[in-house]
Symmetry: C2
Subunit: 297 residues, 2 copies
Amino acid sequence: MPGEAVLVPDFLAPEGLADCVRYRSGELPDEATCSTVGFFVPDYIDAPNPEWMPELANLEVVQLPTVGFDSALPYLPVGVTLCNAAGVHEQSTAELAVGSIIARWRGIDRAARDMATGRWDHRRGRSLQEATAVIVGAGGVGTRIATALAAFGCRPRLVGRTARDGVLGAAQLPTVLPEADIVVLAVPLTPDTERMVDREFLSMLRDGALLVNVARGSVIVTEDLLAEIPRIEAVLDVVDPEPLPPGHPLWSAPGVLITPHIGGDTDAFPRLARELIGAQVQRWRRGEPLRNIVRAP
Amino acid sequence: MPGEAVLVPDFLAPEGLADCVRYRSGELPDEATCSTVGFFVPDYIDAPNPEWMPELANLEVVQLPTVGFDSALPYLPVGVTLCNAAGVHEQSTAELAVGSIIARWRGIDRAARDMATGRWDHRRGRSLQEATAVIVGAGGVGTRIATALAAFGCRPRLVGRTARDGVLGAAQLPTVLPEADIVVLAVPLTPDTERMVDREFLSMLRDGALLVNVARGSVIVTEDLLAEIPRIEAVLDVVDPEPLPPGHPLWSAPGVLITPHIGGDTDAFPRLARELIGAQVQRWRRGEPLRNIVRAP
């Protein structure tokens, strides 16, 4: 018999869902409670706990608070449905991607550092107007980034696995990459995309191109990227290894801006995540089809 | 008899306008050449030269490469038409404003500084989604900023001198300022706007509000702003005094991000400015009405 309880991180418990079992980061409930759980929401970036899944004997549904689901797959028990948080992070991630691109092209990062010594160093920046951006990954995040860049007069070109209306296929990459001023990585981490951005991929980028990673760190082969810097620049919200250890050469690579995997993490996240979780629990309890299924049992 | 020559900074000389007199920063041509000049384009931010105007005895038109024209007015000879560069800087300035807001709300500035020590410090940021932005100044720059913010799900409210369709009047500021998560200053510097953002103005902002200045430094009373920090945060592309001297308390004020007056200065600027100058010279030579007139003779 599947469990009926909902196990959810304290800060993501939906309002109006009084009967869920809330947990704090890292604190697995006792075995008796675990056996009642049918719907599990793993914790967020700071305290991922996919290893709890096999502890929940009567689990039916895992609702991730993230869009990426790569790290959950190895722990997903047979017969359990996996849902991601599509719709929750896209806008925040698009904001970070566009903000980071502007920060790098306008030298906001350098200006922030110059404040420590009171240095007023006016330099001409690059504008998004008429720039060409190739966005690899035509899902929710990539599509939002394309829309936001277009609002600034940038020419976005979406690339998905296969060509469709408004989306180029991955086979077109060798054609479009050499035309890109900006290349944004917004793909899920899969065997196809892991280490996709290697020496060969990077060699297709023009001098001065800006590589943006808001996907997963291991989509890029870090040592191959380092070999191409400073011929190209990079804005990385995710890196490999992650967290990046002190002293790693990426920290001091010229023309590189690193943010600590904050893509989807804004004040909008808990609000939107609670709404999604509440709606999914309701569907589950009513026997209605779940949304955002990324692995059916 | 008005002069017929066009005096223009070397880097802004329009292609296809072979017969203009080009100058390098700070190098005023000899008196004989000066007397032939009817159309003068002053230099850009790094080397402003409004004091050349009275040296040009037969001047008819001054075409500024900037939107702001406050610094030109004291030197404008009687009978000379002053035009600004409306249309040239709006988009670049909107990019910087939005990029800087995102940089501050997501901690991109802090992340840039943390790179020096290899510190990976994940923190939750603020999203533009459902934030309220009051944009003071409903001209080209303010309107573009409003459009760009709206593309991210932000609620922009434009405030102009007088109310009109889609624009609130300045008299509404006491009503809208207390509702603002973001206040963007995009006004021209005039006797009305100079020192407009004083203790009283700032006291209307809610705790944690972000003040953004892409207008002119002296729109804000610097010491009044300092007195309100860190209750509010600020993103300043222009400051008073400017350039900000080393050791000034603004440099180290918490929650403040300063960029060195780079709002309109991107690679798009010379291209768009050359187009504008070429078109204006053509109109002037054909006796057609000029565009962007900010002071008629």
